[in-house]
Assembly symmetry: C2
Homo-oligomer: 148 residues x 2
DNA sequence: TCCATATTGATAGTGATTCTCAATAACCGA
DNA sequence: TCGGTTATTGAGAATCACTATCAATATGGA
């Protein structure tokens, strides 16, 4: 939150009740927050907040580096707090049954990818890695390969 | 194209001038074709084809396994012919400067991912891997990290 | 050729996100 | 503390890509 104030000040922007509420709620929620869910949560604190403001604020947090946009292919934007756990990027496992998300990190994979990219002349700036599959629970529940 | 006829027949579906034109055009175009571009190209052959039909046909090709949907995060769907090059999945390098796309494949990376997924109880069904960065050309052109 | 029905095209509808713009509220200085 | 400049907000319209609807049409087998 302090980083946010500083970033806002540094850009000649202003704080606001809404902005604070959105950021605070977002960081408290944790995980991979769909904007829609964030709107709902924020409104429990600040009833009038509009979706536009939430979208705007999350984009701001992303610009400042405090949030990372995630896209799990279901058509709605999610954000994840940037400080969580590792300094480096981590990849995601998305359960196609229950939607549960697990994270993992592998310097080895990253190194391999970087190397292969270089071989094609590319310098990697951003990675987008998700593996979709069934978590243990859903497999145990006997849900077929396509949801029951 | 033969595979397509068979698949269509096997499903009790019918061929049509539009379907043929769309499939043929798609395979001729090659690469990672945005639906929008495909519509344009097809209409040079069959002027009246509607976007709905193109979307429907591409979904059909995907169902049948002849096309693979790709999502490069720019909000429009692309399809890639499934037969191209490798039998297995390949990953993509997307240049943030010129949009050029390179492909690479690494059994080692796939194996590592599968192993890490298992460690979290996941069984991988589908992978979604793109690396965004600058290709050699764009870096040489001195375009800064954010397009000039 | 005829018919049952798969397919199509035009368009309305969706769902998520962004834009517009007048009203409001933050910050800064006096 | 008060004011003024101007960033921010909220409501709803607008976009954008894609899907559903449905009457008209075309396909493939009998």
């Amino acid at each position: 939150m302090e980083v946010l104030s500083e970033a806002i000040a540094a850009k000649g922007l202003r704080r606001s009740r809404q902005r604070d509420a959105i950021a605070r709620t977002f960081f408290v929620m944790g995980g991979h927050v769909p904007v829609e869910a964030l709107v709902e949560a924020v409104r429990r604190q600040e009833p009038g907040v509009s979706v536009a403001t939430v979208y705007r604020t999350m984009k701001l947090l992303a610009d400042v580096g405090l949030a990372v946009p995630r896209d799990f292919g279901d058509g709605r934007a999610r954000y994840e707090a940037a400080h969580r756990r590792h300094a480096h990027s981590h990849d995601h496992l998305v359960c196609t049954g229950c939607g549960r998300i697990a994270e993992f990190e592998s310097h080895q994979i990253e190194a391999l990818q970087r190397r292969l990219a270089r071989r094609h002349g590319f310098e990697v700036e951003r990675r987008h890695v998700e593996l979709y599959g069934r978590c243990a629970g859903c497999r145990a529940a006997g849900k077929g390969a396509d949801a029951a």
